[in-house]
Every structure is written in C-alpha cells, then in structure tokens.
Subunit: 342 residues, 2 copies
DNA sequence: CTGAAAGCGCTAACAA
DNA sequence: TTGTTAGCGCTTTCAG
C-alpha cells in the first residue's frame, strides 16, 4: 500500500502525533521540527489518508447535493448551471460533492440511506415544497443543510431568486406592450417557487386592473414537455388561441410552449409573445433568444454553498441565513405588441 | 452521536463480529441469530458507518468522475447527459460518485490530491488526449479506470461512440445534398475524439473525390464560443462565405456557428447547411432542431460505468474492455441543398 | 514542545 | 457457529 504516517514518524524519529500536528500546522510544534517533518513528508510524497483522518475526527469534508425530483432530471439546464456555482465554492474550501441517488417520495429511507451516517457533513437541497418533510428529517438528524429556494418553515437557511418580483416584472412588461390576455404556465404544484411565481403573476394583474382568469392559468411541471403539452391542449379544436401572451414559470416550459406554437403555425412574437423564467444559457442559443426573467443562477449556487459552509464552520445554527437575490428581465426576442395592436 | 455496532452487539448479547457478519449476510451465522440481530438493528434504526467500514476494508465504494478540462465546464450538456448514465449504473451497484476538482495540466498533483489515497476505488475519465499522461499516472498508482473515449494506449479500457464513422456519415449526407465546399470545425487539438472526427471528414472527402482543403478546416475547441468565433472569423471582410456547408465536431460548436451565421443575415439551411455531432438534448429545443450525428450519450455513460465495475469486481486487468457504440444521423432541420442548386 | 495511548466504527484473520 | 484480537491510518486528550 501507500506510505503511512507511522512510517514518516519513524523516518523522522518522532511520534505519529507530532507528524500529525506538524502537517496540520499546529503551533505547538517547534518550527525546525515542523520544517523537517514537512520536508520528509514531501520527499516521500506522503499525504494523509483522508478517510482515516475523517473517521478520526468524525467528519467527511463532503457535501451531499440533492437534485430535483422527477420529472426533472440531473440534466436539467438550470440545475447544471447552479451545480457549477455550488461546486466552485465547495472545491475552493476543500470539499467534495456527493451526488446521491435520492428520489423524494419513496420515504425518508432513500435519503437517510445515503446521507445519514458519516457520509456527508452537510446537504444542499433544491426545490422546497410546502411543508417539506425533508426539513424535519434533516433537523432530527442534526444535519446542517441549505435550500436553494425559499422555505415556508422558519429558521431554515435558504437562498433564492426573487420569484414573485420576477413574475411581476414579466407581466408588467407584457402589459406595457399592450397584452391584456396573458396566460401563465405554472410550475409543479407544491413547489414553493412555483407558488411564488404565480403570486407575482396574480399581483401584477390585480394591480394593473386586469381580471385573474383561471382559464388562463395552466398547470405545468417545469419540464419542456410540460410546457409543450399544456400549450397543445389549449390549441385543440381549432378555436382561437385564448391568449396573446404567455408567461411560463421557467425557460424550459417556455421553450416547449414555443415549439407547440410553431407547430400550429403561430409565430413568436408576432402572434403570441412568450416570457420564460430563469435565464438558462440554452435560451440564448435560440433565435431569437428567449425573453426571460434572468436569475443569477451561478451566483445562487455559490451563495447556497457559502451559506452552508458558514454553518459548518461557525458551528450549527449560528450562521443560518436567508438571502433573496435580485432578478431582471432580459432579451426581447420573444415579445412584441399583440397582433391587434400592430 | 449515532448508535454504533458495539451498542447493537451488546443489546443482542453477541460480539461485534457476529453483528458485522449478520448484517453482511455471512452464511456462517446461525439463521435465528442473524434474524434476531437484523431485527434489533432495524428497531434501533441502525446502519453501519460506511467510512469506518471502508477504512477497515480498504475500499471506498466511491468512484471518481473526472470532467472535461477548461474551456469546457462541468455544465457542458454532453457531459451532463453522460453523467446521468454513469450515475445510474453506479448507484444501482451501491457506489457514489465523487466529482473532484481536477484540472489537468496543473501537474499530476491535482489529480493525485483527490484520487490517490483511499478516496475512490476507481476513476472514470473523459476526453483522452494523444499520449495522455493520466494513463501512466493511474496505472502507476494501480487505480482501475476507464475512459469515455478511445485511447491510443493499448490495454486501457474505454467506451466511445463511432467518431470517425459519424463524421463520415455527416459529410456523405452533405455531399448527397449537393454540397461541394464543406467546411469542418475541429475539436480541441490533442483530443483523440477530435482527431477521429477529422479523420472521418477527410476520408469521406477523399472517397467522394473532393479535395481536402486546409482553408476549410477550422480550429475549434468544443465550446459554443469556439464555434461562434471560428465562423465569425471566416465572415470577416465582407468576402463571400467560403463554404456552403459546415460540419461541426460537436453540437455546441454547431450552435455557435449558427448564431454567427444568423448575425450576418445568413439563413440556415437556406444559405448554409450545418451538421453537429453528439445529439445533445438542447439541440432538439432549437427551431428547426439541430441536425446532428446522434451518439447514445446516456448509454455511453452506462457502459463506461459497467466496464469499470467489471474491473473492480472481476479483479483488475481481468475485465479491461473496449467498446465502440454506433451513432446515427438525425433530424434534417439544418441541412438543405446549397443555394446554387435550389 | 513532544510522546504515549486511547479511540473513531468496523472488518477479518485466527481461535475456540 | 461464535468470540477474541488486531488492526485500517489518523487525531486527540493527557501527561511529561
């Protein structure tokens, strides 16, 4: 096997303890001794065995990253950009990521199975639901965690984009362009983010003096397929499309919606305007680029990781923090005045 | 802390060893005893501490997954779909994934730092280069590994799509449509996959009796930005665009190329045809959908993982396997006859 | 400033 | 079939 600390200790004529301290830069080791030990370690190309080290101090230097549940996948563009942010901060601090196979809904076991005993020091979760059962579970196990997404349970750390404000912005913009029949495709029911975006939509309509028409609130699930099918359903039967604009709760659904519109010969934005939410990179590849409410996705990931590390380092419950990051409307590819105005 | 094996042992009135065996379904434990121990463990909600277990047996049940080097990122769509495949197989077999912060080129240290001492049981790598230094490094450390992508070092396990064949297909198709000036955007120099795709391009041209024109071979780097800039460069100065069709070595570059063409008012496929490579999901979101050489991306990931696990289970060097998976041309959104033919 | 010794929680000979 | 005894490789009191 590899060389061990005991071996280094013998080479240096000191005890394992001293080697351990020297390598950890413990100030209680005489500088020269420390110098010497480090040099020998380098010469032997020695590095402490992390598993053993972690076992001894009861930590792992690993963070579990839970990804969105079906029907979303790990390959969801939003999740990936976010993951990028999370990983960069984690790695800067010497942590690794563990991506467990967790599908919520199969009972706590799935989660405990991978996260419970000494696998990870903390957990990063996404998409809190209303009264999310995972919260109690993690708290019970005394496991530090942070959500990407506002929770409705107090005392929980989370980081989120301004969902309500973003939706509000989007509707305002569509109104400004002259739209009066603005449909909304919602996110998966039960997710707090979906609810907040819906709230923003409602509030904007109300403030603008428009009726909140249930027939224009369409159920989606945050997937492209969901956006596609929802719009297809409302295109059935040859009736006139009931809206001049669509606000989709995320970009993937906006993309699906646009596909569905194209398939029946409706042009975007000439016939129907579409605004998404998130600002995933893929949206910029489209022609025209997707109009969307841009979240600072990468930054959200970095912030989530930072908040978790704060908890780990400043000792539990000390750094429990909540943060809402601003969003903004970008691009103008898929919006225009409604047909009757042009 | 959590309950330990010693505790369970005491509760059952047996030794830790027996508990350990019972939980591992060792046949040398009397059925009733085993039954009883398992029951008690369940009652106490006990699960063995994996770190300790791993330390004791000198393994980790974790696989390191190295992702592509800069300028590609962990959020590269191809990589993520592939990762999805890898993870599904790994998890089925009880392994976790460790995504280390490795950037090749900073010396072996970056890699050894995270993979060397008891961190992982095996490693999955992507994008082998010509004479990839990582191979010798891993072999020296006696670490099982598999590459996503053919290597030019014999005796190394790898799984790959048919790069040369796919490129060949793409060029054939463009020729069939009437194109004679077919440009190619290459992948990052030094990557074997990039070379093989280039070889397929060359072979197709040669067999078709077309000259291999160096001016039509443009250097790319597998990123969208790379594809974009390469095409922009060839659009400088108002001269006529030198090709009627572009074969991009991957989809991301194809997407970038299309953007660049659009920016100067060239239509795809009316003015220029474009074919990509990979078949990432994002390509299907475009309108029209990206024409591409479809690789079985998810399957590649599953296969890579399977090959590695074979090595781990059948004992080293026993299951070293190499596999090339078939690819196929899909979609027809971005190809058409060249302008002069229509 | 340094060393001895006791674990961290589990596994694996080796005995019994 | 079960228990005893050493570790796995490192950290960390507690003495000195």
């Amino acid at each position: 096997m590899k060389i061990s600390m005991a071996e280094i200790a013998r080479q240096c004529g000191v005890s394992k303890a001293t080697v351990s301290r020297a390598l950890a830069d413990d100030p209680r080791v005489k500088p020269e001794t420390k110098e010497y030990i480090k040099e020998v370690a380098k010469r032997f190309n020695y590095e402490p065995h992390p598993i053993a080290s972690n076992l001894a101090r009861g930590r792992t230097k690993t963070i579990g990253v839970v990804f969105p549940a079906a029907p979303r996948t790990i390959a969801d563009p939003f999740f990936l950009e976010y993951l990028n942010g999370v990983s960069s901060i984690l790695f800067e601090h010497g942590y690794s990521m563990l991506l467990p196979q967790v599908s919520w809904g199969e009972g706590d076991s799935t989660m405990s199975q991978l996260l419970a005993p000494g696998r990870v020091d903390g957990v990063v979760l996404t998409e809190p639901r209303v009264d999310d059962g995972r919260i109690a579970f993690l708290q019970k196990n005394n496991m530090p965690f942070v959500f990407l997404g506002q929770t409705n349970v107090p005392g929980v750390a989370w980081v989120d984009g301004d969902n309500e404000g973003g939706a509000y912005l989007a509707v305002q913009e569509l109104y400004r362009l002259g739209h009066r029949r603005i449909a909304m495709i919602t996110g998966e029911r039960g997710l707090i983010a979906a609810q907040n975006r819906l709230r923003g939509y409602r509030r904007a309509l109300t403030e603008l003096g428009l009726p909140v028409n249930q027939d224009l609130i369409w159920a989606g699930d945050f997937t492209r397929e969901g956006g596609y099918h929802t719009v297809r359903n409302h295109l059935q039967g040859g009736a006139k499309f009931p809206a001049t604009a669509i606000f989709a709760s995320n970009d993937l659904m906006a993309i699906g919606a646009i596909q569905a519109l194209h398939e029946v010969g409706l042009q975007v934005p000439e016939d129907v305007s579409v605004i998404g939410f998130d600002g995933i990179e893929v949206g910029r590849y489209l022609s025209p680029p997707l109009t969307t409410v841009q979240q600072p996705i990468n930054e959200l990931g970095r912030e989530v990781a930072a908040v978790l590390l704060e908890q780990l380092e400043k000792g539990r419950r000390k750094g429990v923090r909540q943060a809402t990051l601003p969003v903004q409307l970008v691009n103008v590819g898929n919006t225009a005045a409604p047909p009757k105005f042009s």
